[in-house]
Symmetry: C2
DNA sequence: GCAAAAGTGTTTGGTCTACACCCATGA
DNA sequence: TCATGGGTGTAGACCAAACACTTTTGC
């Protein structure tokens, strides 16, 4: 993932000889942590944050570029991700003249949290982002991703990435409640989700609460679409 | 809209010294012509076609870049457009190593057809595209745009760009029938579209058919969203 | 009068919402 | 036996699909 010229040399070349923006990638990683939707952000200088990013490595696909950034920040090698949008305006970033191809993903699990190097990266609650000092247009990119996440989870099995292999329907519902930021009727949710043919009983029972609960798993290995859940 | 280096010089620079793809823009322009969904494609050499495109002019916004390509091909100065996707893979285009930021739009009207220079550009029916020789991955980009168009027209007033200021509800319905490629019940469509608060009677009557019809116009000047029409 | 297309209404069935009740277990 | 959360059912509101009849004009 190296380029033939050093980054500073590239910048120099661009700014002096070219009128073309440098393609880079910004990634928005959402997770559910302590019952809140959070974003992974790079610490930047003293108290500022930016999205994890890199200059696009042109010998690799966009997905490989995403994976490289993700792995560097979190240790996770692969995750379902989706292209978000390509942001550019001549005024976007006066220092570097950078075009941003953005991707986003929803990730969960203990391995993910353990893999994060919290000296370099922070987990910021989405609902507390306005208090943070997020640089450039990265706050807008995060909001854009947040909206996309909301609309996608309604008709895709995005929630798969947050849950363990086997889960209770109530756990699935909680993912939806946090991502959509609203309460969902327990009984109606259950009826609907079972009618969609996306999850199946595993036969196992989770006895960790007073009344044990049936465990379910997603039928498909891959993220797939279905008729709107709401 | 010029760059400091000539295109050939840029290409050379990229291929020899840089590992970074050149940002370019491909645009997918849909229109309804003789009752069919069509795409505007550049003639390329003898019998091949490509999407209208250009190397990204970095002093201008993405939308300005789109407008410049559109105007060159069709004489139209402004139209509602939407970013589609950014395509890139190292193998995408071996000659030029080009990253494609794609936009799409739905355009209509006689001015549009009159503005097209048909010596440079062809109008190709979407349902006959498989017979055409469309180069690179541009066929996939068109398909991607076609799907986006289908899903967007269901909850946005995209059809506005195809119709005259005042139109019959039956004309609006025909736009939906062609874009969605299915028959729609006349009566149910009328009820639904009137309940959405997106169009209003203008008070004028169109007497061009046997039985005259009320004319309607969109309430909003801008393209807006509404609850799904289907 | 007849064809063509507009305008309006009804019936039906399914789906979403808001609920209530009972059940299995741990403490 | 009580608290906690799981499992299941039902009535009413609402919405969408299928469909029929009447109206207004040109020829």
């Amino acid at each position: 993932m190296n380029s033939l010229l050093k980054p500073e040399e590239m910048m120099d070349l661009w700014n002096t000889k070219l009128s073309i923006p440098i393609p880079s990638m910004d990634i928005v990683i959402f997770t559910l942590y302590k019952w809140h939707l959070c974003v992974v952000l790079d610490k930047f200088e003293w108290n500022a944050h930016v999205l994890p990013w890199n200059i696009l490595a042109g010998w690799y696909s966009l997905e490989d570029n995403f994976d490289a950034i993700l792995e560097r920040k979190t240790g996770i090698k692969w995750i379902y991700k989706e292209q978000l949008y390509t942001f550019w305006s001549p005024a976007r970033d006066k220092r570097w003249h950078v075009l941003s191809i953005s991707y986003y993903a929803l990730v969960g699990g203990q391995d993910f949290i353990n893999g994060i190097d919290f000296t370099k990266v922070d987990l910021i609650r989405y609902d507390e982002l306005s208090k943070a000092n997020v640089l450039y247009d990265h706050k807008e990119i995060i909001d854009y991703a947040r909206n996309r996440l909301k609309s996608k989870i309604i008709y895709t099995t995005t929630a798969k990435e947050i849950l363990k292999k086997e889960f209770r329907i109530s756990e699935l519902r909680e993912v939806y409640e946090i991502v959509l930021d609203k309460e969902i009727d327990r009984r109606n949710f259950q009826k609907k989700v079972l009618s969609l043919n996306i999850i199946q009983e595993t036969g196992n029972i989770d006895k960790s609460t007073n009344r044990p609960a049936k465990l379910y798993s997603f039928i498909d290995d891959k993220i797939r679409t279905f008729d709107d859940i709401f």
